[in-house]
Amino acid sequence: MFFIPGPVIAALTFPGVIIHEAGHLFFCRFFKLHVFDVCFFRFGNPAGYVVHQQSENFTAQFFVSMGPFFANTLLCIVFCSAAFLPIWELKVFDPLAYFFYWLGLSIGMHAFPSTQDLSHLWVMAPALAKKGNPLAILCLPLAGLLVVANYARVVWADLGYGILVGVLGPIAIFKALAH
């Protein structure tokens, strides 16, 4: 599920919503969960959703909930990297680069899983973490951070995350390549 603080912002960054929901659907299909309904984009709240069967398998639940976060982050870095050099460092006017930067930031901005996505993990993770499940141990602080980030959307934390990933990701990649 997804929440965007305004229909205008949702419309401007619609590729991110679509990719996020496609990510949910991908992991539902991967873990063979039943999908009851899918909306890739709409002018409403939430802007997109995937209604799916809840799984007792924590791994499946983790990837269905968190998969879009990782996928959107990765795609944000990929698309922004294709555009980062001409726009930020080389100051070359290239319309394709601007298109990719918009695409990358839109995708990055919609990386956060919704509170509802996280709530299922939040219920399952503590007990499994106590039993030493590494994924649950990893999930707890990450989900905690993402819950906070979700509330911080009112102050554009989602946009901030997109920009951070879209700028720092390519810088890290290119600096590493330069070495």
Binding site: R29, H34, D37, V38, F40, A82, P86, L90, L103, L177
Partner: protein, 310 residues
Amino acid sequence: MPLINRSICARCNTFIASDASAVQIGSARFCSTCAPLIKDWDYPVWLKIGLASLLLLLAVALVHGRKYFHAGRALYIGERLVDEGKFANALPYLKETLTIAPGSDKASLLAAKSALMIGDVASADKALHDHDGGHYEDGQSAQFLEVNSLWDHANEAFKKADQAGKLAQQDGKSAQAAKLMHDAASLYPQLPGFAFAAESLDGGAAFERRDFDSFLAVSENQWKEQPASETAAQLASALACKYAVTGTIDFRKRAEEMMDKARQLAQGDSEALKSIDEYVPRIQYRLSSRKIITKQEYDYLFRSGKSSAK
């Protein structure tokens, strides 16, 4: 989702009652149309086409952006080398970036800095002025201010060096010229030529105050540092002075050797040959007459025209 009612499909609300084809999934029942969809919800065609187009576009962008990756890589390598103080190594990388991205503030400033730090003012001038006519987005950035300060120092140094050069042409002004050239060298120490020229003018000043030991010491050092026709001729001049004053034949021999070396080294360089042709007769006069006169005096006695050098 609609409220679960076992007689209707939980997804589409179709009445299914005791329809045998209805499927039970969990606690809900679904009609024969919805059940396969729920079990295997396919990606819509538009999404598949959209994602495929996006990947294709990304591939196009990566191919199209190869030159940017190349320029960017060169920029980051150049930046790293500048941070490590390896300015001469950094400059070729930064020049490479500027051929693809002349508008890059970062590349232009780093290239200008590298060039200025190794005394390559022509490259610095090109890097700065080919960049949007010398206009930068952030005129208050630390990088811009640093390059600006280096550039101002270099320009001021060149002005002083130019003045020194003009004074050096006049008899009796070598000390003044040397002082100006030393100022230039301290303003822009990155250009070793200024310090070298200042030392050469020190030699000229020593000649003027008839301190031939200092003149010889400077000339020997100059020859050692930079063996060229000019330094060979200057050393020949200093040795001729010492011969004129002491009469020691060894100075004369060495002066003649240095004159030969100056001629050899000037071969193929018309400017250097012209300078040698002007200089050598004066040294020969000094050796034959054991009289030390200035260029102006020599010109007055033997030439109607004028030329350069001490």
